[in-house]
Structures are given as structure tokens and as C-alpha cells.
Symmetry: C2
């Protein structure tokens, strides 16, 4: 058997090496709980020595935080969606990207959100809250309601928790198909928004416009169609 | 001014004293964050010496855990409701008792649920999960569905989180009236259940029975009436 000779590898610049270590750390921290990842694991996966890793990062917590920072920015970017087309279809696309992210970072996402990990700290809690805030602000901007009041804000906040719990349950037990969860999350938002409007008639004009733009085959239309069929039988 | 003479106080038995210390601790841990309660505060409020408190409890964490145990049992008992009358009205009564509990234990409830308190531990996390489980089981028993599947369980789980977040927001900002939150929580449950049924037609017979028992003036009926009026205009 011939031994393979690889081309000599170009030495990474300081910035490139730092980037590479964060990439490798994020990959490991995504695939395992932080408690199960060591600096040695990261060094090995990066093809670097342990002292080299310590040259860039004081320790595992610092690498974890850099990886989390990167993941949080990535997830927040996925919330961006052009303000075009029916609202439920926009949210459906965002939920698709959200569930992709959750799937790509499953064990790490679960360890972080469930809490109790060795890497949990006030700082990691603040990053989670920052991502929730980004989701909250994106949703409110799509609803296009001037000065949203406490009722609508509460609805958005509780629905974000619903999306988190749904993602955690999906990671733990894949018995409900992903497509169904994606659709269900959107429909739960529409249902919760409907309850909110019933208590806050000031939201009615915006809600009417939103419903008028919905299509019969989108998440809202299919929910209404399905309920009409089921309850008519 | 005449000085009041009080009758000599009977000495408390060991069990009575222990009970009294837990009562006093629960009262203090309800009215303040655990970080702001000391053994001295508990001793003073109980009319006991610091050594006496330490005779019964090794330290503040132990008193906190005994008080939390008592509060958790109390809250779980409030979930019990006779299986009579429309489901939404049963849930409405339970939500009234839940919001009473939250109001009675506001700062302590918020500190515990928001996390990050010095008294938080795997044990306190397990107690929170136990109360959530009690709520989950009570709701499923009222729904009277044999062998509830993953879809319905997920709905109950996410709605319990909605109830927790709603309570926390209410404690932080009383701008939405309590009666409205009580009603809204029930209606959100009915709305989420409706979405679930649309994905799980096996739930349809039970859902139909449930709707048939609802009254036009109850939480479900008033939601439908309000939406019909709003959207008809």
C-alpha cells in the first residue's frame, strides 16, 4: 500500500488560527454537552497542540463563550426574513431555518437551554436573552404594529418559549415529524395572536390586514380548512 | 400609657417549633429573593435565637428547601379541581388559585423561576419540574383522553410554560389586569388545543365532547363571541 503524501500545509495566520479554533470548538460544543468537551478534544480536532490552544484562549469557558457568541449571531441572522407575502408563510420559512439550526447544534443547544451545564453562567444567560430579544423584535417588526402594548409583547414572549420547548422536545424525541412541528409552531402563533386581539381591539386593523393577505393553502388557511372539515363531519 | 402585659407563652414542642420556623421562612422567602434573607432574619421573625434555628436546620439552604417543599405541595394541591362542568371553566378556577399563589409568593416565585439565585440547585430544579409534572398530569386527567400522545403532551408542556411566563410578567408589570390574564390563559389553552387537534384527528371525539359541554358565556364561548363580533364588523 502506498503511503499518501500530503502537500505541506500553509501556516495559518493568527486570525485564521483563532477563527479555526472557534469553528472547531463550535462543532464539538454542538455535537456534545459542554461537560463532555475538553481542551484536548478541541486541540486534536483542530490539529493543534494543547499549548497552542491556550495561547489563543485562557481556557475552555473562554472557547465555549466564543463558540456560543458565533452560534447566537448565526441564529439571530436566520430570523431575518423579507417583509413580503403572507405573514404565516414568512414565519414558516423562519421556523424552517430555526429547526435546521437546532438540528445542526442539537446536543449543545439542549445542554444550554436546559441549563445546569458546567458552562452555564450569567454571561451565557445574557446571550440566550439577547437571541430571544432578536426574535421578539423581528416578529414585532413583521407584525408592523406601532407601539406594541404589553398584551402583544407577552404573546410574542410566550410563543418564543413555545418554540424553544418544541425544539427541545423534538431533539429528545423525534416522534413528531419536523414538517409538522414547523407548521404547528406557525399555527400556534396565529392562534395565540387571535386570542390576544380579542382582548386588545386596538390590534384589530393590523390583524385584519394580516388575515386578508393569507392564502387558503398557507399555514393559516390550512388550519382553518382542516378545522372546518373536522368539526363539520 | 399603660404597658401591655402578654400572657406567658407556652413553649413550643419540637415539631411545633420546626413547623413554625418553616412557616416563617416561607413567608420571608416569598416576600424577598432568597439572596436577601438571612438566618438572623428568620430567627428574628420567629422570635427565636440564631442557635435555636441552627438546632433545627443546618443552614439557610436547608430552610429554603423545606420552605420550597411546602410551597410546592401547596401549589400542587391548588391544581386539584373536581371533574365537573365545562373544561374551560374548571381551568379558569384553577388559574384563579394559581394567580393567588403567585401573588402571595411574588418575589420568591420570581427569583426561583427566573433562576440564577444563590439558592438554586439541582434539587430546587427537580422540585420545579415536579410541580410542572403535577400540572401536566392534572390537565391530562381533565381532558380524559386515554393514552395521550406526544402531540397533546407537547401542547400541555408548552402551555404550562406560557402560564409561568405570564405569571412572571404579571409580577414584573401589573399593566394587564389579573382577571384578563386569568381568562387569557384559559383561552390560550383552548386555542393551542384546537391547533393540536387539527394535527391529531384521534383527539377529535374527546375535543367534540369538550366543546359540546362549553357554555356561551364561559371562556371558550366568550372568545368565539368576541371574535365573531370583531371580525364581522
Amino acid at each position: 500500500m502506498a503511503t499518501r503524501t500530503s502537500a505541506p500545509r500553509r501556516r495559518l495566520s493568527v486570525d485564521e488560527r483563532r477563527e479555526q479554533l472557534i469553528e472547531v470548538a463550535l462543532d464539538l460544543f454542538s455535537r456534545r454537552s459542554p461537560d463532555e468537551v475538553s481542551i484536548d478534544d478541541i486541540a486534536t480536532a483542530a490539529g493543534a497542540s494543547r499549548p497552542l490552544v491556550y495561547h489563543y484562549f485562557p481556557g475552555k469557558q473562554s472557547l465555549y463563550e466564543s463558540a456560543l457568541r458565533r452560534a447566537a449571531d448565526e441564529l439571530s441572522r436566520r430570523f431575518h426574513e423579507p417583509p413580503e407575502g403572507p405573514l404565516s408563510e414568512r414565519l414558516h420559512r423562519v421556523m424552517g431555518r430555526y429547526l435546521d439550526f437546532v438540528d445542526d447544534h442539537g446536543p449543545g443547544f439542549a445542554a444550554l437551554l436546559r441549563g445546569g451545564s458546567v458552562a452555564a453562567s450569567p454571561w451565557t444567560g445574557a446571550v440566550i436573552d439577547e437571541v430571544r430579544r432578536a426574535a421578539h423584535d423581528q416578529i414585532l417588526s413583521h407584525l408592523a404594529i406601532d407601539a406594541p402594548g404589553p398584551r402583544l409583547r407577552l404573546t410574542v414572549r410566550t410563543w418564543i418559549a413555545t418554540a424553544e420547548i418544541t425544539a427541545l422536545e423534538w431533539l429528545a424525541d423525534r416522534s413528531i415529524p419536523r414538517e409538522e412541528l414547523q407548521l404547528r409552531l406557525v399555527q400556534e402563533f396565529v392562534a395565540a395572536l387571535t386570542v390576544t386581539v380579542s382582548h386588545d381591539p386596538g390590534l384589530l386593523p393590523a390583524f385584519r390586514d394580516l388575515l386578508a393577505a393569507e392564502s387558503p393553502t398557507g399555514p393559516t388557511g390550512s388550519l382553518l380548512g382542516q378545522l372546518t372539515r373536522l368539526l363539520a363531519d
